[in-house]
């Protein structure tokens, strides 16, 4: 089957507020997928429902053909879904390196890994993302930008089949954005499906093969990057009516 992730009619409410309203999305294996939308449109809520941090109220989520709607988040991660957090959530009491050891030990090798081996892998990931010199630094001491990189590195450490990056590039310089994009492209070439949530339009347009735009919990547009940018609904959603 070429569909990796299928979101069918997913809805989520918080009290009286509807965050997601019958969202339908299909993501193909190996695809580079962009998710855009104004603040509060439900992007992170959708990601939370996919990763299992939240339970959807209605609809179902299928990963690799199997329904994961009832699975706790850690099992979904072990099946191959990894995500970074929009507001970084480092393991503050641990060093940068240790932060990566957690997913390496708990996902990639089921907890039975020889310590030395995991540290090598962690260092390799840190070199890729440019944090190698901060390996022993306490993660609570990192700058905002470094924290975002750590978020992405931690998601990568989980050896996912589907990687969801939630505004990983906010606050990065142009060079850093290019670096992160390069890493994501490389991961995609290795076969990892990637969903990118971003406000930095050039990045989304350069990276994505397909983009959807969310607004007030609904998909208002879906298509190739060039189409999306020109879509009147999308422009209205971002700039206001």
């Amino acid at each position: 089957m070429s569909t990796l992730l299928e979101v069918r009619g997913v809805s989520k409410q918080f009290g009286g507020f509807t965050a997601l309203d019958g969202v339908n999305v299909s993501i193909a294996r190996g695809e580079r997928f962009g998710l855009i939308g104004p603040n509060g449109s439900g992007k992170t809520t959708l990601i939370n429902c996919v990763s299992g941090s939240l339970r959807n109220d209605a609809g179902s989520i299928l990963f690799d053909g199997r329904d994961i709607s009832g699975l706790p988040a850690y099992l979904r991660t072990r099946r191959g879904i990894a995500r970074s957090f929009q507001i970084p959530r480092p393991f503050a009491s641990m060093s940068v390196l240790e932060n990566l050891l957690v997913p390496l030990e708990y996902v990639a090798h089921g907890g039975e890994l020889l310590k030395g081996h995991a540290e090598d892998e962690a260092m390799a990931l840190l070199r890729d993302i440019g944090l190698a010199d901060k390996a022993q630094t306490l993660s609570s001491r990192l700058s905002q930008v470094e924290l975002r990189k750590l978020e992405l590195a931690r998601a990568m450490a989980a050896r996912p089949r589907l990687l969801i990056s939630d505004e990983a590039m906010a606050g990065l310089s142009a060079t850093e954005i290019s670096e992160v994009l390069a890493i994501l492209f490389k991961l995609n070439e290795a076969g990892i499906t990637i969903i990118m949530i971003e406000h930095i339009m050039q990045a989304v347009m350069k990276f994505s093969q397909r983009v959807i735009c969310l607004d007030a919990g609904r998909i208002i547009c879906e298509g190739a990057p060039a189409q999306i940018v020109q879509n009147a609904e999308v422009q209205r959603a971002y700039l206001g009516a």
């Binding site: 706790p72 393991f91 641990m94 957690v102 997913p103 030990e105 996902v107 931690r154 998601a155």
Partner: protein, 309 residues
Amino acid sequence: MKFWIGAAITVVVGVGLPLMPLNEYLFYAGYMVLSFVVLATAWNILGGYAGYVNFGPPAFFGIGAYSAVLLFKWLQAPLVVQIAGAALMGGLLGFGVGLLTLRLRGIFFAIATVAVVFIMETLMVNWRYVGGATGLQILRPPVEVFDTYTRMLFAVMTVMSVAAVAIARYIQVSWIGRGLRALRDSEDAAECSGVPTLKLKLFACAVSGALMAAAGAPMPMYLSFIEPASTFNLSYTIAALGSAIIGGMVHWAGPIIGAILLGTLQQVVTVTISSEINVLVVGVLLVVFVVAAPEGILGLIKKYFPGKK
């Protein structure tokens, strides 16, 4: 390796000292201090490593003591069996309370542990077989190897302390400890990193409960008496919690330091002034540390003597 050498020495000293003609009071007080060490170490596995505050050490201590009494009264079980049975009950209680509340926020778990203390106390008060409200006298079999029960139990408690610390240390340095720390730092991020947070929390809760119950098991033999009010006393909470916070919650050495400090303090103050002043002092120390030195004595050492392990 260094740890095991230290552990072996501790056991040898702990078993050897009571065989020597020393003042009985040393072992009487020492037993209390050592039981604090076990209690605080056990508490810290869930409180310090995982970040879930247990207000119910008396419930676990008490279920340990009463399980021991039951096993003794019903089967004339030897001390080892009493301790094992107590640990089992404590583990089950920990698992049960955890299952009920660890999916909720931390404060609900904390309040549930208070509830368990009172429920257990009420159950024991109304149960004639174990003495009810007035309590039960225990006819101890003649003590072997050592001169008195106090001495023998001092030796037992030393071994138990070493075992408890060894278990806490293993959890701390292993992948289990890292998972617990991850879920303490950010439960969401831990789950999304593949950490089975609920399972780990339940594990920590069960182990913590089992060890606290084990600490309570020799108590009936120590006093040759048991009754609910003093067994299910919330001052055990402040002893366990206080020791861990004051000593330092991140490392297995913290609760030991805290327990020895508070245990000794208790012996000194209670005898010279009053037990109420002792509780007041512990309460004030707890608040002072929580506010000003949250990493405990270990944290202060790290701050003022960096590089010293």
